[in-house]
């Protein structure tokens, strides 16, 4: 295996809605920054991979238009996944492992504001049985949350504390959307949005973008004094039909975490993509993280949840902390699909 590292990360200032600009105009400064802050000439990027989906912007082939913001001339080697860009990072990592290139750029973005997100997300369900019922994303999360609650071991109070801790941590994150000091008692006194979930158990709806530069071996050392080396990178998937899953466990995340070697050594901090509060409990269990591990120092997806980018942001946030020397070993996760159906785990280490 080649040593591959995250050497640069950039993200937009995440907002509920960026009404005046299109996706290209939102993404371009982020892509510019991720290259410029390490002095990378775009012509040295051997492979570019993006994650986005047309369903969010409501525009066919929107990812092709976004290439206008990348500078695709002379012709570049490029790919796209209809997934969170954490999976685009996986594809780029595989490309780097093949040894034909040394530097790759990954980006993900979405303008979620043009449509109604909980309804749009019903379109990712199977088209025969679930999608015709239009079960919105919050209701499906509530279904899972209730199952988790019934099984025991967690509580609505714990979820309120996760919400409060996440938004308090996000006060130090200049790109976060939803920050501040919230009292778990006050959160618990709120009405349910969809029982057992309250508004604070849900992620904000976000327009935003993120980008990462990956580099292998010597190229990584050229661009960073302390690269964030990827020591494990795995993704797994659970069945699409909710009826055949035990919703109180995320088996695909357990398997990805084990394959990525999360438990092989001490984890200093974790950036978990857990858009709903109760999902942090599930992710922590699935990865076997102890209470000593600092969870989501960035505020996580509860502070900003740009669809198709929030998973990549977890990897970027974890890498930035490794690069800055705030820890030596971190785990980042990305999730996608209804009730955490698809999961990716990335273990990052400094040296």
């Amino acid at each position: 295996m080649r040593d591959v590292a995250v050497v640069s990360f950039a993200q937009s200032k995440h907002e509920r809605a960026l009404p005046g600009i299109n996706e290209v105009e939102m993404l371009m400064p982020v892509v510019g920054q991720v290259r410029d802050q390490i002095g990378l000439d775009k012509n040295r990027v051997g492979f570019t991979c993006s994650g986005s989906t047309d369903y969010l912007a409501g525009q066919a082939f929107s990812f092709v238009m976004t290439l206008d913001g990348i500078g695709a001339w002379p012709p570049i080697s490029e790919s796209h996944v209809e997934m969170d860009a954490a999976w685009a990072l996986y594809e780029a990592w595989v490309k780097l492992q093949m040894g034909e290139i040394d530097i790759a750029m990954v980006y993900g973005y979405s303008k979620t504001s043009p449509g109604d997100l909980p309804d749009v997300l019903t379109r990712q369900l199977d088209p025969y049985v679930y999608a015709p019922l239009w079960p919105d994303s919050i209701s499906l999360a509530a279904l899972q949350a209730q199952a988790v609650l019934d099984e025991g071991g967690t509580s609505e109070r714990e979820w309120a504390e996760i919400a409060a801790r996440s938004r308090a941590s996000a006060k130090n994150n200049p790109n976060a959307q939803l920050t501040g000091d919230f009292d778990p008692e006050a959160i618990l006194a709120e009405e349910y949005l969809v029982a057992p979930l309250r508004k604070h158990d849900c992620p904000p709806i976000t327009d935003g973008a993120a980008a990462i530069i990956l580099a292998a071996d010597d190229a990584a050392r050229e661009f960073s004094k302390r690269p964030a080396w990827i020591r494990g990178l795995e993704h797994r998937i659970d069945p699409q039909s909710l009826g055949v899953r035990n919703l109180t466990r995320v088996v695909s995340l357990e398997q990805a975490g084990e394959a990525a070697g999360v438990s092989k050594d001490k984890i200093d901090f974790a950036e978990l993509h857990a858009p709903f509060t109760y999902q942090e409990v599930l992710a922590k269990r699935a990865l076997g993280l102890s209470d000593e591990v600092s969870i989501n120092p960035s505020g996580g997806a509860l502070a900003a949840n740009p669809m198709m980018a929030a998973g990549l942001v977890r990897i970027g946030e974890a890498a930035d902390r490794i690069i800055a020397g705030e820890g030596d070993r971190a785990v980042a996760s990305a999730t996608q699909g209804a009730c955490m159906q698809q999961n990716l785990v990335c273990v990052l280490e400094g040296e």
Partner: protein, 170 residues
Amino acid sequence: MGKIKALEGVEPVTMIDTPARLDYTFTAGRATSRFLKGLEQKKLLGERSAATGKVYLPPRGADPVAGVPTEEQVEVADYGVVTSFCVVNVKFYGQAMECPYVCALVVLDGADIATFGLIQEIPYEEVRPGLRVEAVWVDDSELGTTLENIKYFRPTGEPDAPAESYKEHV
């Protein structure tokens, strides 16, 4: 697999209709919005890239070659040169034009990328690359934030442009 008794003899489902509709609020973006607002005043507003010097029309806010924002607004002429064309002879549902008619790519003077338009007021067999054409606009009372403001292009009567002058666009 065991059989479900209640379903014995029931006709299998071979097809279902699942209608879906989603509504979106489309954002053209800063550059394209400036372009569309210009059209309302019969102005064609392109944007120049500082990196390559190219003027894009309609602008999308980015220079696709360099991947940098285009920041300088440039008014482009409503006349230019035909670089390529197609005589449409095929009828299709919803067709607004009578066959045969001509669709063409026109590089407007001051722009570095071709615009799509209809060519009229000339027999279709006389349309050719190099033909100089000008825009025919709708009446001022009908102007909107749309490229439909230009009904079609017609010959200006100028001599043809030399092939050398538009070879980059062919």
